[in-house]
């Protein structure tokens, strides 16, 4: 009887355990970003952080509506065998004014135009107009061949919409007027400069930027003297914003060897040339931002003023850091060492800067003063939302971030989480210098992520604004912000001196009097001693 009771009890506990285990499991199956979000502290160490972005949606050819291109009843119809997927797309561009996306669909030799919701509203396989390059005999269309970059610009003079296409294999940059969802009319062709300054044998433009004066800047493959600059009328005006040679040990060693080597030997040596940049972007004020893939330190990310001078130059005492800044770039999950490869940069209309790292698939978001806001995104071969295989381009509008993947052939839309919203709000106030207003928001940030360093700087500055120096000192110490601590300390010291001036004076006078008395006493004793010694003799 008792045995049966025992087994019954055992059975009961077992079923209960199984039930509780199952319920536990269902609780654990929640949706999460496929990446570990982290941030950097003042030491350059990684600190786990809340995720500021989550994947909203992904858009592949199907979701974009590329099937329309092979649907003969649709106005966008091209042909029955038009590809309904993206293929190795290299560039994504956002037209801020019209809120339209443009994709350079490189593998399919076409340019796609999407609306705000990433639905197709236009497709271009070539340009019409007076040209001799790659003209199709049947249609008279000058067809694109592996277009790698696209830029769209509304002329401030005529108000017309112009598309600039880096038509790489045709060795030209096309400037075309957008006439209809299917037609581009050639305005200007920018081809290989005849100038002696242009030394490269080929002209394969990959990325384009156009400034307000309609000067065209093209990143050209294997040209390392900067971007090639054309004026509006198509003439070559020079190179713009070249990188410098990174002073690695190998470069320095070679410089020494060159001093002692013979001319023949020097001819045999490889030349130390700066690396060409991978991509660039232009903001509304006309500053051009560049990223360089191969470089990790010198000129990896630059902000160029119209004269081509780098504003973010660390060699003149600044401390700007972009991408993964630690020396130990190690993926903790796979335990693989990697070298960052910053492939794209974009400045959003709210002036946040997004930098895309091709190696890790991470997007680094900075505010306009280059404070790191957040890091998100991942790279793996698993077909997960929010992770990439070949992240080629990044775009940003307001606080949404769009990433184009050239291998998964889709666009991933990231949208901010609640934490991200709070962060952006905090930075917005902070960057405007509204420290007092930002205090509440920074507190909210800390409530959600106590390891967020900049929040403490923000709180410290707010406290400083309220003349609460002690509090400010405390916060700056947590954030390890020595410079701001120093400032706060100076005020605090001044304050202390002012308040305790009389007391301090009294103490000093007291100490001086005491010293004088002691010295006199000691002298008296010393005088007394030798006398004794003399007497002893």
């Amino acid at each position: 009887m008792s045995r049966m009771k025992k087994s019954l009890r055992r059975l009961l506990t077992l079923t209960m355990a199984a039930f509780s285990a199952m319920t536990m499991m269902t609780f654990q199956a929640f949706a999460d970003e496929p990446y570990h979000t982290y941030n950097y502290d003042a030491w350059g160490d990684t600190v786990p952080s809340q995720s500021a972005y989550r994947v909203k949606e992904t858009f592949s050819g199907k979701e974009i509506g590329l099937a329309k291109l092979s649907d003969s009843s649709d106005p966008l119809y091209v042909s029955d065998n038009a590809s309904d997927i993206l293929s190795n797309s290299k560039d994504l561009f956002l037209d801020d004014e019209r809120k339209e996306f443009w994709i350079a669909d490189t593998g399919n030799h076409r340019i796609l135009r999407l609306d705000e919701n990433l639905q197709i509203i236009g497709r271009y396989y070539g340009v019409t107009g007076d040209t001799k390059i790659a003209v199709d005999k049947d249609t008279g269309l000058s067809k694109f061949n592996t277009p790698q970059g696209v830029y769209v610009h509304t002329s401030s003079i005529t108000g017309d919409l112009y598309a600039y296409i880096a038509d790489a294999e045709n060795q030209r940059v096309v400037k075309a007027k957008v006439k209809s969802p299917t037609e581009l009319e050639l305005v200007q062709e920018y081809v290989k400069p005849k100038s002696a300054l242009y030394e490269s044998k080929t002209f394969k433009p990959s990325k384009i930027v156009v400034d307000n004066a309609e000067n065209v800047y093209a990143v050209v493959k294997s040209v390392n003297t900067g971007s090639v600059q054309f004026s509006k009328d198509g003439s070559f005006t020079g190179f713009y914003g070249a990188n410098r040679v990174e002073a690695t040990a190998a470069v320095i060693a070679q410089k020494l060897w060159r001093k002692i080597a013979s001319n023949e030997q020097i001819e045999g040596m490889t030349r130390n040339v700066p690396s060409e940049y991978a991509n660039f972007d232009i903001d509304n004020d006309g500053f051009i931002y560049t990223v360089t893939e191969t470089s990790t330190n010198t000129d990896a990310v630059k902000k160029l003023n119209p004269a081509g001078y780098n504003i973010w130059d660390n060699d003149v005492g600044n401390e700007y850091k972009f991408g993964d800044v630690t020396n130990d770039n190690q993926n903790l999950q796979s335990n693989i060492w990697f070298k960052p490869k910053l492939t794209d940069i974009v400045v959003s209309n709210n002036r946040n800067i997004n930098v895309l790292d091709y190696t890790t698939g991470r997007i680094f978001q900075y505010d306009k003063l280059c404070n790191l806001i957040c890091i998100f995104g991942n790279k793996n071969t698993a077909n997960q939302k929010g992770s990439f295989v070949a992240p080629n381009a990044v775009e940003s509008f307001d606080n949404n971030v769009y990433v184009l993947d050239g291998s998964k052939n889709d666009i991933t839309v990231f949208t901010e989480t609640t934490f991200g919203q709070i962060l952006h709000h905090a930075y917005e106030l902070y960057d405007e210098g509204k420290y007092a207003e930002s205090e509440k928001v920074w507190r909210e940030v800390i409530n959600r992520d106590g390891g967020y360093t900049t929040a403490y700087v923000g709180l410290g500055k707010a406290a400083l604004n309220h003349n609460q120096y002690k509090k400010a000192l405390k916060y700056f110490k947590i954030a390890y912000d020595q410079d701001d601590y120093d400032k706060a300390f100076e005020y605090a010291r001044e304050d202390f001196l002012r308040e305790n001036f009389t007391l301090l004076i009294c103490i000093t006078i007291g100490v001086i009097v005491l010293l004088v008395v002691i010295v006199k006493l000691v002298k008296k004793k010393l005088k007394a001693k030798p006398k004794k010694a003399k007497e002893g003799k």
């Binding site: 030491w43 110490k477 020595q482 410079d483 601590y485 120093d486 300390f489 100076e490 010291r493």
Partner: protein, 209 residues
């Protein structure tokens, strides 16, 4: 002439860099006890520099505070210096004994220690703009100690100036060799330990199994 107490001798040596150590040697003065206290003070000064330096001047990585490297940098380095110098002086015909080298070297360190403490103290009241004073005091202490060290080595071994410098450079080389051998020995012993331990576990398993 020159009848001082132990601390009186210390003061005399520090403030008379030219003749101080010669007097010390002549009078056969100097206390090993005081020199040990000085070495300990060096260790304390180094800890203070990392922990008590004003925040705006503190460059140390304060997430982790480990006292072992500081012990190595102060106490261990000091004794390797003494032993290295003693080893070199037998080759270079120096006249110093191990005890004397220890005492004289320790006495020479006093300005560095004192100036470090002063710098640490002032760093808590100054801002970065006035930081030059903190660094100035530190450098003065360091320079003073170096001069005293040269004089100490010269006096203890009765060398010429050039030979003193040479012997000091050689001492640094000897220190490196000593430390290298020490590390080698340590890792070898560790391997022996691992070997013995694995034999032990093996035996234990056999007995149990």
């Amino acid at each position: 002439m020159y009848e001082f107490t132990t601390t009186g001798w210390l003061k005399h040596v520090i403030f008379h860099p030219v003749e101080g150590f010669e007097d010390l040697r002549w009078k056969k003065q100097g206390s090993i006890k005081v020199s040990m206290i000085i070495v300990f003070a060096l260790f304390i000064a180094m800890v203070a520099q990392r922990r008590l330096m004003g925040f705006q001047f503190n460059m140390s990585y304060d997430k982790i505070f480990n006292v072992i490297p500081i012990i190595v940098q102060s106490v261990v380095y000091f004794f390797t210096w003494v032993i290295g110098n003693w080893a070199i002086c037998t080759l270079f015909n120096g006249e110093g004994t191990l005890k004397n080298i220890c005492i004289y070297s320790a006495y020479a360190l006093v300005p560095y220690i004192v100036c470090t403490f002063i710098a640490v103290f002032f760093s808590n009241f100054l801002v970065q703009e006035e930081g030059i004073w903190v660094y100035f005091i530190q450098y003065v202490g360091l320079g003073w100690s170096i001069i005293l060290m040269i004089q100490a080595m010269r006096a203890v071994h009765q060398y010429t100036f050039g030979k003193t410098l040479l012997s000091m450079v050689m001492t640094v080389v000897a220190m490196l060799i000593i430390l290298f051998l020490a590390i080698l020995l340590l890792s070898l012993f560790q391997q022996v330990y691992v070997f013995v331990y694995s034999v032990y576990t093996e035996v234990v398993y056999r007995i149990r199994g």
